[in-house]
């Protein structure tokens, strides 16, 4: 068991890749065997993630040096810097890992019946596993170039999966957009990595953070990195691609795309808090991120009001919720250098943002799954053509209501638990931000109530009289999300203490991240 945990950080990345390479071979022989292998593999990975999470929270940062004579040998003899690729798993990484593990399991369970009858399933599952492996790699790696490589894996397999339904022109265009945006973003990231490498001859995040001088070139690299990652997570100046891709992908893929966007959010946190840390012009960068967040909230919610397509509506809601996280992060970043302010409200703001990351993945995932279930049964996403579906699809209607209430921050659900953390801490920083946030939440609620009434209530339309509830595996997938949402909503204190607080401490504590790589520096 100890050896398994010792190697778990690499196994979590390598096992999905291994199964992905195996899937085409197994799929030739038997479809059932393939599905079984995929589910068992992902369940094993999820088990490893939870075991690793427990270990990291109890024993601190987990280091794995690839190709060295033993995993802890970060710096070889005869030099002062790390040479090999190092996986570095701390509280935040493992927190993101938990999100990816849950989301990927649910996505596969949902796909089992949602994809029935489609061609090309072998390749579908292969690419899905590659995407999961890529997202795990993004959150676990401690090396900048490795981050870029895994970002590429995620975006290429994501683009191919978005274009899965080749009979619709929309999907092809969505895939094209996604890959163009991610190619530009990742090449700019590589350029910024080159700028950092040119000055310090290092690629490891911890070692770079220790050597950081914050010169002119570092500022250029910072601007490029922030804009590229904001582009990848769908922040406002570059949010156009998000609604076009999320709405056309198969929904189980959309759920994974949300997780991939959250991994970009994680990368943004890493860049700001760990790579640059206190050397930044904290107030300036913090306010820039707050501004991006405010714009995202505002534009996301106003665009959502106008949508009649249910998936596009939810996609714009994603932009809006990403804004909340960015505001929380920005406030935390702005006061990072100020010990007292950080203690009174800074860490709370960051906790709120981090907690909102997992809540966002859960309730947006649930909403997308519901939209996918409706599409599966009636073949349209247009809200105006729906009506009275609540009579026949009772579970689906209930799940939609649950997701909508959680998303708008209504008390007994998880969205409230994280939004209240953001509101109360941001209020101490700047009250106007909180007022805007509450307003945006209210409009979100209005949007979802409108959508709920037009889709599920009213008289049952005659053409939908034969519509049945969706298959059991789809219900099971949605139930997993729903149960976690309710648990998180009922016991937010426990979750914050066990998972969110360690993640926040790990994010703020730049020194121990560096020490884990470079050894204790006096």
């Amino acid at each position: 068991m100890a050896t398994l945990i010792g190697h778990s950080s690499i196994l979590i990345i390598a096992v999905p890749l291994l199964i992905a390479f195996l899937t085409p071979l197994i799929g030739m022989a038997s479809k059932k065997a393939r599905n079984a292998v995929v589910i068992v593999g992902l369940a094993f990975v999820a088990f490893l993630v939870f075991a690793l999470a427990r270990d990291v929270i109890l024993n601190g940062i987990h280091i794995y040096t690839l190709g060295a004579t033993f995993p802890g040998l970060t710096i070889p003899e005869g030099t002062m810097v790390p040479v090999r690729i190092i996986l570095e798993v701390d509280g935040v990484s493992v927190f993101m890992g938990i999100i990816v593990a849950i989301v990927s399991l649910v996505a596969v369970i949902y796909s089992l019946s949602a994809m029935k009858g489609e061609t090309g399933q072998n390749r579908f599952y292969t690419l899905l596993l590659l995407m999961v492996g890529g997202t795990f790699g993004m959150v676990f790696t401690g090396d900048l170039f490795n981050l870029f490589v895994f970002l590429e894996i995620t975006s290429i397999s994501g683009a191919a999966l978005i274009a899965f339904r080749t009979r619709f022109a929309d999907s092809q265009e969505g895939g094209f957009k996604y890959i163009v945006v991610s190619a530009i973003a990742s090449l700019m990231i590589l350029f910024a990595i080159g700028l950092l490498y040119a000055q310090y001859n290092l690629l490891n995040i911890g070692a770079l953070a220790a050597a950081m001088q914050y010169t002119m070139l570092d500022r250029i690299a910072l601007v490029i990195l922030i804009s590229a990652f904001v582009m990848k997570l769908g922040g406002v100046p570059m949010h156009m691609w998000l609604s076009d891709t999320y709405s056309v992908a198969p929904v189980s893929i959309t759920v994974l795309l949300i997780a991939a966007s959250q991994a970009s959010m994680y990368a943004l946190m890493r860049i700001c808090f760990t790579l640059y840390g206190v050397t930044l012009d904290l107030a300036v960068v913090g306010w820039i991120i707050i501004a991006i967040g405010l714009l995202s909230m505002f534009i996301g919610v106003t665009m959502a009001v106008r949508q009649t397509d249910i998936t596009r509506l939810i996609a714009y809601n994603c932009v809006c919720e990403a804004g909340f996280m960015l505001v929380g992060l920005g406030v935390g970043l702005a006061v990072l250098g100020d010990r007292t302010a950080l203690g009174t409200y800074g860490t709370t703001a960051i906790s709120g943002a981090i907690f909102h990351v997992i809540n966002h993945a859960l309730f947006e995932g649930l909403l997308f799954l519901v939209a996918g279930a409706i599409f599966y049964r009636i073949g349209t996403r247009d809200l105006n053509q729906m009506g009275g579906l609540g009579h026949t699809m009772k579970f689906t209607a209930m799940f939609f209501l649950l997701g909508a209430l959680a998303s708008s921050g209504i008390p007994p659900f998880n969205g409230f638990a994280s939004k209240i953390l953001i509101y109360e801490s941001v209020y101490q920083f700047n009250p106007i931000l909180t007022i805007i946030g509450i307003l945006v939440s209210i409009i979100t609620l209005a949007v979802f109530v409108k959508a709920f009434f037009s889709a599920f209530t009213g008289a049952l339309l005659p053409k939908y009289e034969n519509i049945k509830e969706v298959p059991k595996t789809m219900i099971a997938a949605m139930t997993i999300f729903a149960v976690i949402i309710i648990i998180f909503g009922l016991f937010p204190g426990l979750i914050v203490d066990w998972m969110v607080r360690p993640a926040t401490d790990a994010l703020v504590d730049q020194a121990s991240y560096i020490n884990a790589i470079m050894g204790a520096i006096p």
């Binding site: 190709g67 890529g134 490795n146 894996i153 700028l195 001859n201 290092l202 690629l203």
Partner: protein, 92 residues
């Protein structure tokens, strides 16, 4: 209007980057080399490879190469997925 902003963005970005190019801390031809010099000195002994780039690609940064091979695999799978013949599922 949109054109104007795009031009502005492009020009600002380029001026920014060109200044960066001229202001490189280490001039062309004299890069810093703490990490690379270690690899050049030890590649033969540790990886047993005369080709230092080969040693970096498959030994020191082998995980990147796994990722890169995976990217290629994903792209080929994607091409075959996107260009597959037709879908049997009828429209509902």
């Amino acid at each position: 209007m949109r054109q104007f902003f795009a031009w502005l963005l492009l020009i600002v970005l380029m001026v920014f980057l060109v200044i960066g190019g001229f202001e490189m801390v280490h001039p062309f031809g004299e890069p810093p080399s703490t990490m690379d010099q270690y690899i050049i000195d030890n590649a033969q002994e540790e990886a047993g490879s005369n080709n230092v780039v080969g040693a970096v690609v498959f030994d020191y940064r082998g995980f990147d190469t796994l990722g890169e091979a995976t990217v290629l695999f994903a792209a080929v799978m994607g091409v075959l997925l996107v260009l597959r013949a037709s879908e049997k599922k009828e429209e509902t």
